[in-house]
Symmetry: C2
Subunit: 236 residues, 2 copies
DNA sequence: GAGTGGTCTAGACCACCCT
DNA sequence: GGGTGGTCTAGACCACTCC
């Protein structure tokens, strides 16, 4: 007779119990778990409840489920982190600093090859180029260098980004796209050093993003170069 | 009479339909959506199906739901990305390079204050200190500097990490903890420069992680300094 | 107090895929 | 063929919170 100290309460309870067994090595990597019906019977709940719990664990990368194949413990669980890409303004304000913004440049011009490649555009494409500085408590926080395809977002051509950043405007106007992000470390160029008030060659954190619309057409490509000392934190 | 071109198939269909309406601005940021019962009636499915779809969108940060308060469109949708922290070995092999590993140092010693603070340990704590190099096709890829609390993971004290990295050993042995990760850019120290074969002061990408067990006790603190040119990519 | 989402249940059918 | 997870349904009760 098994004694259960903690009652199984709902799908969260089932999830917790399964996690406990995984940690206790009762089910080891590669092992096959009982099927949902049996587990439901053992834990005294309905199959749907077990299903919900196991799906959650599968989403988190701890279990692998296949029709007919059953549910297995993943061999090399890769920790999954989910984090949000905040608007620069909220990022700064969340740290209790006053947000400031300064537009450096805004004009339509021929995009360089690197940008065209990233956005998958033909040679000679003219894009809206916006450069701006984000400030925290008056000092430079990040330098934004952005290219916007006004064929995809015509409205952007009529906005001057002198007060609100393109960052915010785009998020509210053209939401819900897909995209990708790339993080790296680079030495400060002369230009970046001047804008950010640091020495050339200093180590800077760079965040590059490409955003696509629902049809996977590139909307904007942005490169954010952060002032020295910037850290990006993620909960696991 | 509304004409529907595409049938609503299951909860994924409902989700797609809701997304369509969000993009079409039929429901704008801040708006209140119909309640689940009404939506179910309109879309010709059961409430559970609608619930599943809306929960998904809420998880993705597009909707905000409250009991009694209903479901609202989030005003400033912050794009959420979920990415996995791969074992260094898989990261290298996925790029088609041969993985190599070299243990530089392994000994028990008094932890410096910075590490103690991070791991929340009293002064004088002795930890297992492991330094190692990860190689891709024979050249330095990342320098690992790790501290392990053997009070929390006694087994680690009996493992010499000369063949398998602590990275892999820990993942298989002490899984499923919580933790946090912090990314930054730093100039190469003399020591890092020598290990990674670059010049001192070069810009390096640093990934620091703290891992806790189920009781939130710190297991290990690791600092991975990557060779110049490293990029971390994330799908959004 | 009442309306909303959160969840559980029991049953059902289906898609997949291993043997 | 048959067992597994994926999903839908209809109904129910509960927890929260706005009015």
């Amino acid at each position: 007779m098994t004694v259960r100290r903690t009652a199984i309460n709902g799908w969260q309870g089932v999830k917790a119990e399964v996690l406990r067994r995984l940690r206790a090595r009762r089910w080891k990597p590669g092992d096959l778990l009982p099927n949902e019906v049996d587990l439901a019977a053992e834990l005294g709940c309905s199959r749907s409840t077990v299903n919900r719990a196991l799906q959650g664990l599968a989403d988190e990368g701890l279990l692998e489920r296949r029709r007919r194949g059953g549910t297995r413990v993943v061999v090399h669980p890769e920790k999954k982190a989910t984090f949000s890409i905040p608007v620069v303004r909220s990022q700064i304000e969340r740290r209790g600093a006053a947000y400031g913004y300064r537009l450096l440049e805004r004009r339509r011009e021929r995009a360089p090859a690197s940008v065209r490649a990233r956005m998958n555009l033909p040679a000679g494409s003219r894009l809206l180029h916006v450069r701006a500085l984000h400030l925290a408590d008056g000092s430079a926080w990040a330098l934004e260098d952005r290219w916007i395809d006004t064929d995809v977002v015509p409205a952007a051509g009529t906005v001057d980004f002198s007060v609100r950043s393109a960052n915010e405007w785009l998020l509210e106007t053209v939401p819900f796209g897909s995209g990708d992000m790339s993080l790296s470390a680079v030495p400060a160029s002369d230009e970046a050093a001047e804008a950010l008030g640091c020495r050339a060659g200093e180590s800077l954190f760079v965040n590059e993003r490409l955003t696509r619309d629902a049809n996977r057409r590139a909307i904007t490509s942005v490169r954010l170069v952060h002032a020295p000392g910037y850290r990006m934190s993620v909960e696991l």
